[in-house]
């Protein structure tokens, strides 16, 4: 992919983002004038207006890092991670040449245009979803979002893609949003709906008829079959009620009564004792 094609795609993506932001009409809409045109030195769209920046002496130890970071407009303090890479472009770096590997050829930054071309080349090789952000700086991406206009566009785009707070409902089964680069280059189809569509008016499906309680609950019964069986049950003539008797099982051989002691027998010793007893009746 040539540089021109890449830039054209980026321009297309930017146009789409602006259109969506305009369509949403939410605060944070990106104005067209506030975004600097991305054009390179040949007049083609570029990522950042590098040519408008003043030339920086790359011989200085502190400046070259900032010069290289102008592509992503990151502050010099946040660019410590790629300091090593920038040393390649600074032959007068404090790191002695002996620390560098032999195959690494120091690059003399005597021409700003050369640095610009390198930066543009790095941008074109970077994933399109990270506009103006060097892939090496992904770890410090939060810092770069504050200052990079292109990254601001990316942040705004992410904010626009989220559903408003009033309609954020968990939607199950919806496909995840395709990546932005796929939307820009490979697909023209609109995003699927983020919200659950309202139910259609009309008949509400009846609840399933559960008439056979003996079946396993996990068994999904055909509703039509269940309805037919229910109708047959109601259509059949009522049968005569017959009681179902349940008798207890009791063991009659168990000795329930227990006799303790013995009743005093009536044994009168004399006839007069017997006579007194009978007269007592």
């Amino acid at each position: 992919v040539s540089r021109a094609q890449t830039l054209a795609r980026l321009q297309t993506l930017l146009t789409r983002v602006r259109a969506r932001a305009r369509h949403a009409g939410e605060p944070g809409e990106v104005e067209e004038d506030s975004v600097p045109p991305l054009r390179d030195s040949d007049g083609a769209p570029a990522a950042t207006p590098i040519s408008s920046l003043p030339p920086i002496d790359l011989q200085d130890d502190g400046i070259p890092i900032a010069t290289a970071d102008l592509v992503s407009s990151r502050p010099p303090d946040d660019a410590r991670a790629d300091e090593t890479r920038m040393r390649l472009a600074n032959p007068a770096s404090s790191v002695p040449p002996s620390d560098l590997r032999e195959e690494e050829t120091p690059i003399v930054a005597d021409d700003v245009a050369t640095v610009t071309e390198l930066s543009l080349a790095a941008q074109s090789s970077a994933p399109p979803s990270r506009i103006g952000v060097d892939p090496i700086f992904d770890e410090t991406r939060n810092d770069t979002l504050e200052t990079s206009p292109a990254d601001e566009l990316t942040a705004d785009e992410e904010a626009e893609d989220r559903a408003p707070a009033s309609s954020r409902r968990p939607v199950a089964g919806l496909p995840t949003e395709p990546p932005l680069d796929q939307l820009a280059f490979d697909s023209e189809e609109p995003l699927p709906a983020l919200h659950t569509p309202p139910p259609e008016s009309g008949k509400v499906p009846a609840a399933p008829d559960i008439t056979d309680y003996d079946r396993d609950l996990g068994d999904v019964e055909d509703q039509a079959e269940a309805s037919q069986r229910t109708e047959r049950a109601f259509d059949s003539a009522p049968e005569e009620l017959v009681p179902e008797t349940t008798h207890p099982t009791l063991d009659a051989t168990v000795p329930v009564a227990q006799f303790v002691g013995q009743a005093a027998p009536f044994a009168p010793a004399s006839f007069l004792a017997l006579l007194d007893a009978t007269l007592g009746l």
Binding site: L275, D276, A277, T278, L279
Partner: protein, 182 residues
């Protein structure tokens, strides 16, 4: 002779010269009367006359039995019954025995030639005379040649009489009498 044995030796003395019959040791003469004649007499007279006849006859039996008993308080049942039954047999009123239904005393007269109407007063008078206690009696049954007479208090006799009149069986009446006394 032990107290439990009844000695009937020379208990009745027949004086054929004088034409008299006398009991052993008794001065009162006896009259041998056919039972049918006695029954006719009792049937023709009032009920009180039959009761009086029965009580008089029973008293005679009791007195003779008591004469044979040395210590009534310590006399066993068998001894008392033996003496009483022996003197009843000498007079020809039947075979006397006793049954004890719980606390109830029942006198049994078997093969008695006397009318049933005479039996209850006869038994009561014999017991009273022999024991010296006032007793009451009621005829429970007279079947198969055996008459059963209950000896009890006046109230007990009245209740049993009412139960028998109402149709209750004599055995049930005796059982009921036991429950009421408990």
């Amino acid at each position: 002779m032990t107290a439990s044995a009844f000695d009937a030796t020379r208990a009745i003395r027949f004086d054929l010269t004088e034409g008299s019959v006398r009991a052993n040791g008794q001065d009162e003469p006896l009259v041998l009367v056919p039972s049918s004649a006695l029954s006719s007499l009792l049937a023709s007279g009032p009920a009180e006359a039959a009761e009086t006849f029965g009580r008089t006859l029973g008293g005679a039996i009791g007195r003779r039995a008591a004469a044979e008993i040395d210590d009534l308080a310590t006399t066993p049942i068998e001894t008392f019954v033996t003496q009483l039954a022996g003197h009843a047999a000498l007079l020809g009123v039947g075979s006397l025995s006793i049954e004890r239904w719980g606390r109830a005393l029942v006198i049994v007269l078997e093969r008695s030639p006397l009318a049933a109407l005479l039996l209850a007063p006869l038994v009561a008078a014999a017991i009273e005379t022999a024991s010296g206690r006032k007793v009451w009696s009621v005829l429970l049954s007279n079947e198969e040649g055996a008459a059963r007479i209950l000896v009890a208090s006046q109230g007990g006799v009245e209740r049993v009489r009412n139960w028998l009149t109402s149709g209750l069986g004599w055995r049930d009446a005796l059982a009921k009498l036991q429950g009421g006394a408990a």
